[in-house]
Symmetry: C2
Subunit: 270 residues, 2 copies
């Protein structure tokens, strides 16, 4: 299998995202290798050795995606035996023209700490944790969004992703069987924040599979129970006009982006 290297003087997150996006256009499998924090020529020479070894072992010339600011270090990587793609460079000149400003590259620029947004994210993570799973109902005034849904429909990972990636404060509230004795109604605590509500639902079969891994052959995980709970929440969403999506076929990234887009929430972190 051909190797694809992602090299950077920082976290290499940008190289990875760029390289993965490009490679996903091709019906080919790769052996992905990320090497962050390459800041000296010596380190770069070590990287080039790894690239050469991969070439020798597989007979396939590796791909090398890199974003390195230091010219000397970058020159070393550019001499590797791989196919080198330095994607930032190609766009710098057109951007300089468009903006009428010269680029001023600095190390650790993209994914480094920004005092203010850093605190925003940590605060959002803490908020998501202390408002997870209906644990706390009195801080909903602070929420940017309140995710609702039945147990194991994806509320917690989504609220954590929204916090870490966007600095969004997302509480989440689970509808349980206890709420469904008769017809599921909107609890008063949620009624007061109706404009912040966003519902998740999921295919009954998938929910059944997920719950079965947690508590096999229980009433909680039975297909019948999953169907009943999902029918109730979906009816509630429609009746109360709460926006919702079916998370079955979407990734956490997609669910989060759809929520941000539908709820018109702006990210708090760049």
């Amino acid at each position: 299998m051909r190797s694809s290297f992602y090299i950077s003087d920082g976290t290499a997150i940008t190289s990875e995202v760029f390289g993965h996006a490009l490679l996903s256009l091709f019906p080919v499998e790769f052996n992905h290798v990320t090497i962050p924090f390459i800041e000296t020529e010596e380190q770069a020479l070590e990287v080039n050795k790894k690239i050469s070894v991969s070439f020798q072992e597989t007979g396939l010339r590796p791909l090398v995606f890199h974003t390195i600011v230091n010219t000397d270090v970058r020159k070393v990587i550019a001499e590797s035996e791989g196919f080198n793609y330095n994607f930032l460079n190609q766009f710098v000149e057109p951007l300089e023209e468009a903006l009428g400003v010269s680029a001023k590259p600095e190390k650790h620029r993209t994914h480094s700490i920004h005092e203010k947004t850093y605190d925003i994210r940590i605060e959002a993570v803490n908020y998501a944790l202390s408002n997870d799973d209906g644990a706390n109902l009195k801080d909903y005034g602070e929420a940017d969004i309140i995710l609702t849904g039945v147990s194991r429909s994806g509320k917690t990972p989504t609220s954590l992703y929204l916090a870490l990636q966007y600095g969004i404060k997302a509480a989440n509230y689970p509808f349980t069987e206890d709420d469904m004795q008769d017809v599921l109604k909107l609890p008063p605590v949620l009624k007061h924040h109706k404009q912040k509500l966003f519902g998740l639902t999921i295919a009954a079969q998938r929910l059944h599979d997920i719950r079965n891994e947690r508590r096999a052959n229980s009433r909680y995980s039975s297909l019948q129970q999953c169907r009943m709970e999902l029918r109730e929440v979906e009816n509630l969403y429609r009746r109360e006009k709460i926006p919702f999506i079916d998370s079955t076929t979407f990734s956490i990234e997609e669910i989060s982006a759809k929520i941000m887009s539908q709820m018109q929430i702006q990210r708090r972190k760049y």
Copy 2:
């Protein structure tokens, strides 16, 4: 302020990362606007209107970073009044040559669900949550890594980021004052998993500030207490040869990338 648009038929995460990486090279502020899930020509025309409005309102031609697979939709965006950057295109041909394979673009390719890796991440998030803050000591055998450090040194956000971004199972164990009556020693439960340990530390002043926001003017948050606890854990790290970093000036992304790199852990999710 000039606007920078990130447009995609998917989550727009790739456009955002690419655009932000490029723009971080310039000492200029931008008004960032992300518009995901543009899948029809009608939607694209609406986007172009927004781009035109921004141009009219600011007198500055917006930047437009886009990654759209559908040719008709892409053509519409390419006719917007902004400066258009479709970065994937420029690299497709060289990659086709390198790989000897034609690109087969598909919608929702990059950040869509991949059954297997999806489950890995959800499992890793659940693991991080149930092994947060020393809540559970018996599942350390399953951990890819065990983060240690004093209260509020960044363990929880880091373990959640490792789970969501890389599918890594990270437990975290807090050293508390109770452990430091005499000299801080490695608790037996950690000794058994010593090769998985990674330490966090932080500047005393910063810890003092963070703790003060939580419990102002307490012993817990006093500078003296912070100094004592940090001295103890740093001594322990050195004595026991536990790799560690000072998180004070690093982002969650940087801390996580450094941990992955130093511990030689491979990501489980692409």
